[in-house]
Assembly symmetry: C2
Homo-oligomer: 201 residues x 2
Amino acid sequence: MKRGLLFIVTAPSGAGKSTILDRLLEIFPGMEYSISMTTRPPRKGETDGVDYFFVTGKEFEDKIADGEFLEYATVYDNYYGTRKAFIESRLDAGKDIILDIDVQGALDVKKKGYPAVYIYIIPPTMAELRKRLEGRKTDSREVVEKRLSKAAEETGFYGEYDYVVVNDDLDGAVDAMRAIVVAEKCRPSGIGDAIERFLGK
Amino acid sequence: MKRGLLFIVTAPSGAGKSTILDRLLEIFPGMEYSISMTTRPPRKGETDGVDYFFVTGKEFEDKIADGEFLEYATVYDNYYGTRKAFIESRLDAGKDIILDIDVQGALDVKKKGYPAVYIYIIPPTMAELRKRLEGRKTDSREVVEKRLSKAAEETGFYGEYDYVVVNDDLDGAVDAMRAIVVAEKCRPSGIGDAIERFLGK
């Protein structure tokens, strides 16, 4: 079984990340989203082990103490985190994993030196991002301004990523993401088996 | 003008490199082959500055002394080399350049720390390579054996390359090469202009 690759994807809210990633998962049937662990109670229709791994605060904090998380964060008094053992088992099963986290989480994983492909997605301009966020009509003016300021701040870290995909056109952005996946599968570290086959070993 | 990228491509004789590269150049109109400088006399139909830059031995050796070459080699008593100034001017003109050289040449360029994307192309198996070389009916048995042994030896250096493309199926190999080009154009080092446009600077 050829080991899968971990793709860490960050994008400002409104960049079109979910649409792009859903399209990517249609292209690569062996690709799946990482499943986070959280202390937030399950909502109606959510299944443990499918949407999230639901645990208590005590369980989560024990795992923090044991260093089980690649990254974790607190959002509205709830913990959310990615367990290293979960990622490892899926990669070992040959799955490519998409881990959709913010800049802080991505930098935490990178600091740990965990092998992954880091991708940052941006919309073409801040003006376009404002248009998309305002077009949603779900966020207050204040929330929109907050998201825009976070987008500008986070984008300052683009140099920490392996790739930056500009979502000025959905098909182009999906093609670029697909290209990154195909290219990363040609890395020498992952094709030892092809070399051995070539040399007839 | 966005600066182009340099792609250094190596493949054993018979790997199908020329076919793949010709297809790649059809896909990317802004891509072109590097033009070597040589002391070999022009053959009928060859044009200076198109097929090669033709120079005398004295001229070539002066340029070696001046450190003008990214790499050079001697083949049948003639020099062949790639001038750094030529590559620079084409990259500055926004062209992506394919430099098709052997492992020794590629390692020479890499040792100089010159920024480039290193790609190694292999056929699926040595048996298939033998079949392709014997199928040409142009090489003597001895030459075929020499090429096979060189292929096995050179492939030992695959880990020095950024990417390895296995040409088991032409369309798949062309798609992988295209993906590498598209992905490399998403590198943060090359998209400063997109970031500035996003931030409205």
